[in-house]
Subunit: 208 residues, 2 copies
C-alpha cells in the first residue's frame, strides 16, 4: 500500500484570502501537509508520495517522496494510479483533523474502494485496492462521481462517515472546526490569529 | 432509555430564509422531524418525546409524546433531565442524515455521555446515561461546553465522529449535503426545489 498527497503551495487556498494573506496561506498549507504526513506515518504507511505541479515549498521535504507532474490534478493522479502496482490511498493535504485512526479505518475497508466524503460534495480521501481498475475525477461533486466510477468499474465501495476526516479546510468557517476539534501546529497557527465568537447560531472567527 | 427531540415549527429555520419561504421552512422542518422520529423507532427506541414551546404543528402527532414547555431550550431540557429516571438521548430535529445505525452507535457508548458534534461548534445529539448528573447548555459553542460540563460533573464521555450525524440543516449550504447524502421525504422536498451546481470548489444550490 502507498499513499499519495496532491499538493500545491503556490497561491494555495484562495478561498481563505478574506482572512489570511498569501504568505499566511502558504505557511498554513505547509503545516497542514506536515500533519497529514505525520498521521499517515503514525498509521504505519511507509511509502508516502507528495504529488505537486512544482517543487515550490517542497525543497526540504524528507518525510515523503516528491513527485513533480505539471499536468492537472486528475491527469496526474490517474497517471499515478495507472503505474501503481499496489493499493493506493489518495489523501488531500488540507485535512488537519484526519488522524492515524481514521487512516487505519479507511484502509482496512473490506470493499474494493473506500470513499471519504468532504464538505460540499467533495472527496477528502479515496482508498483504491485495484488502482488499474479505477480513475479519479476531482472537482465539482466528486463524491458522487467517485461513487459512480466505482460502480461502473465493477468495484464495490464503502463510504467512510467521519466528521473530522470530512472537514477539509477551504473556507474561513472551516477554520472554526480546526480551532474547536483540532490539535497540532496547523491549529496552533490559526489560534494565534483568531478567536472564536458566537454569531447567528454557529461559531465564527474574529481576528486577534 | 428514552429520547427527546426539541422542536419548534413556528418561524423555524430563519437562516434558510434566503432560499425558502416561511411556509416552506415550516413544511420542511416537519418532514425532518418525521425522519428523526422514524430513525429513533428503527433503532428500537420506544419512548420518544417531542419537547416544544407550543403545540403548533404537533396537533396530529401520534408517533411521539408531545411535551409542552414554554421555557427556553436549556431550561426545558434541564427540567426534563432532572425528572428523567433513565438514560436520555437528546437529538435535534434537523438531522435528516441521522440513521438508526448512528443512533445505535451513539447509545451503545461505553462512556457516561456520548456527544455528537455538529457544524460550527454545535451539539447535534447528546446521550446521557445519568441525567441527574448532567445539565445542558445549548447555543454558542455548545460542543465544547458539553464536553466541559461532562468533565466537571465527573462523567466521562465519547465524541461520536460522523459526517452524516454531524450535518445539522441550518444554512443553504447544508441543503447541499442533504441532496448529496440524504434520502427520504426531507431530501425529496428539497430536490423538487433546487438542483446542484458547482461553483467555487464546493457544490451550491440553484432554484429549479
Amino acid at each position: 500500500m502507498k499513499a499519495v498527497i496532491p499538493y500545491k503551495k503556490a497561491g494555495a487556498k484562495s478561498r481563505l484570502s478574506p482572512v489570511l494573506s498569501l504568505e499566511e496561506r502558504e505557511e498554513f498549507v505547509e503545516l497542514m501537509l506536515s500533519q497529514v504526513i505525520e498521521s499517515l506515518e503514525e498509521a504505519g504507511i511507509e511509502k508516502i508520495d507528495v504529488l505537486s505541479p512544482s517543487g515550490y515549498g517542497l525543497e526540504g521535504m524528507t518525510k515523503a517522496r516528491v513527485l513533480l507532474d505539471e499536468k492537472d490534478l486528475n491527469e496526474a493522479l490517474n497517471r499515478y494510479l495507472e503505474e501503481a502496482e499496489e493499493p493506493v490511498l489518495i489523501v488531500m493535504a488540507d485535512l488537519p483533523l484526519l488522524s492515524s485512526d481514521h487512516i487505519k479505518g479507511i484502509t482496512s475497508t473490506k470493499k474494493d474502494v473506500c470513499i471519504v466524503p468532504g464538505k460540499g460534495g467533495g472527496t477528502n480521501a479515496l482508498f483504491i485496492k485495484n488502482p488499474s481498475s479505477y480513475r479519479v475525477r476531482y472537482y465539482g461533486s466528486s463524491f458522487l462521481t467517485h461513487c459512480s466510477i466505482a460502480t461502473a468499474a465493477g468495484q464495490n465501495f464503502e463510504i467512510y462517515d467521519s466528521f473530522l476526516a470530512g472537514t477539509d479546510i477551504d473556507e474561513p468557517e472551516d477554520l472554526v472546526e480546526l480551532m474547536i476539534h483540532g490539535k497540532g501546529p496547523a491549529r496552533d497557527y490559526i489560534t494565534r490569529k483568531f478567536r472564536l465568537e458566537v454569531s447567528r447560531g454557529r461559531v465564527g472567527l474574529v481576528p486577534l
